[in-house]
Amino acid sequence: MLVTDSKIKEIELKAEAIRETVVEMLVAAGSGHTAGPLGMADIFAAFYFYILKHDPANPAMEDRDRLMLSNGHIVPVRYAAMAHAGYFPVAECLTLRKFGSRLQGHPERLRMPGMETTSGPLGSGLGQASGYAYGARMDNKKFRVYCFMSDGEQDAGNTWEAAMFAGANKLSNLTALIDRNNIQINGMTEDVMPLENLRAKYEAFGWHVLETDGHNINAIISAVEQAKAIYEKPTLILAHTIPGKGIKEIEFDYHWHGKTPNKEEAAKFLAELRTMKGKIQSEHE
């Protein structure tokens, strides 16, 4: 066991708080994506409250770990995680997608301190993270570069160009993570454009591949720790997640990829989220 039970519990509660904030901000915004952010809440909680070396009071801290979010459309979960971590007031989350807000519909580095890059158009995050990791390695920097991707953007050629580049250059300071929730806008990934065997594909491109339950905090942390110990190649963590995790009506339903709950739905969803504290852990016991 790498982390204490009480720490795990604490991170799980953060994940719940993040989920609640995500639902509240999506209702306030009236547009955006629901399934992806909810499905990634546990991973973002594990990163912002345990894994990442970072300082919310000093987002530009030189030796911070860099987290590149390639699939920018799930950024509400990152905003929520950052707010709960102390980057900005949680109340500001309700300005998501509003005119004048730093919380753009898709993330922009220049508007939001701590947002490592600008993203949204799919398939271009892994290349950016690879370039960043390449530059950092040239200067013997010790921080790590993380890149979160969706499974849908594995359709994009640029993703595979980057996978080839990172593998060829053995960028071991780079850890990528795919939110393997099996949905994309048009339906199930294996119906839209089959991706499997993702593990074999990345391995063939020179990556070390790990798989984890994307809702088990302990397993997420353990996978990242293993990735840090791989010195000869970049590591991919295939994180198996449930889209919409935490709200039964949304879970597994690809129709919730690109829409937001209305006020009535949100009230119901928030009630559901507030009665489930600790439930996620128990599912894995």
Binding site: T117, T118, P121, G131, G135
Partner: protein, 312 residues
């Protein structure tokens, strides 16, 4: 005669020595984009991308985000052609100091044909906020543009040609991003202002010289297409009362379009556009193509005469 791409390669090699943050990325075209000398001298700062221009843009973005000064080179049809969205989102919107070097731009690529003759790269790059667009007229100017790009904090596009072209500027000719240079002025008050960009400046000068006694002109080298030197352009247009633009690129959305936008707003005078008109290129010698598409000295001279008549 010399290659503009050689001016780039010469400057990049110097930057290798003078600026340790400079890195070079290339999409399998190190020799023809003239990155080869840098690659050989600074192999640890040369990054091979393979034939992957989209990834080259995103990796360069990451390197610049980290703190490097990346120069990324390919043919202009592929970069900024194929990777336009990656440049838009990860470089321009991100306002990261990547230097995009598009070689083999224009018709004068010659025998390779339309697939390799970039005629829309100026248009693609000049509509992106934060992007600076440089179009040097000769080898000397390409050298200076490269050094200036490295010193400029934001993203820059540098347009280069394949063929050897006349060298019109000297080492001491001033070069400042955003500052147009008057290259030639008739003895009499100019009746037509000729704005040229890139190596076709030579044809513009030949046309001006040819018409020296018939139509007095002023010929201005616009090496920076963005930001345009509006002051110099408006002042020359106002003084002459008529304008000819010259570019090896589509007129639509290109250099001529950029000049017309300024003049329409600030100094509406008759304009004749010398450039490619909604057509693709084809195989041929550079001279054949320049003549066929109406970018030769005679065509520029015709445009000068025509626009003077239009002044009415």
């Amino acid at each position: 005669m010399a290659h503009t791409r050689d001016g780039f390669g010469r400057a990049l090699l110097e930057l290798g020595a003078s600026n340790p943050q400079v890195v070079a990325l290339c999409a399998d075209l190190a020799e023809s984009t003239r990155m080869l000398a840098f690659k050989e001298k600074y192999p640890e700062r040369y990054i091979e991308m393979g034939v992957a221009e989209q990834n080259m843009a995103t990796v360069a973005s990451g390197l610049a985000n980290y703190g490097k000064i990346p120069f990324m080179a390919s043919y202009a049809t592929f970069s900024p052609g194929r990777n336009n969205e990656q440049i838009r989102t990860t470089i321009s919107l991100n306002n990261l100091g990547v230097k995009i070097v598009g070689s083999h731009a224009g018709l004068s690529v010659g025998p390779d044909g339309a697939t390799h003759q970039a005629l829309e790269d100026i248009a693609l790059m000049r509509v992106q906020p934060n992007m600076t667009v440089l179009s040097p007229c000769d080898e000397q100017e390409a050298y200076k543009a490269t050094l200036a790009a490295a010193a400029h904090p934001g993203p820059v596009y540098i347009r280069l040609a394949r063929e050897k072209t006349p060298v019109m500027t000297a080492a001491e000719t001033p070069f400042e991003i955003g500052k147009a240079n008057i290259v030639w002025e008739a003895d009499h008050a100019p009746e037509v202002a000729v704005f040229a960009t890139g190596p076709l400046l030579y044809n513009a000068l030949c046309a001006a010289k040819e018409l020296e006694h018939a139509v007095p002109t002023v010929v201005i080298n616009i090496h920076t297409i963005k930001p345009l030197d509006k002051e110099a352009i408006v002042s020359a247009a106002r003084a002459a009362g008529a304008v000819v633009t010259v570019e090896e690129h589509q007129v639509a959305g290109g250099f001529g379009g950029a000049i017309a936008e300024v003049l329409a707003a600030e100094c509406p005078v008759p304009v004749e556009f010398v450039g490619v008109r909604d057509q693709f290129g084809q195989s041929g010698t550079p001279d054949e193509l320049i003549q066929h598409y109406g970018l030769d000295t005679a065509s520029i001279a015709e445009a000068i005469k025509k626009v003077r008549q239009r002044k009415g």
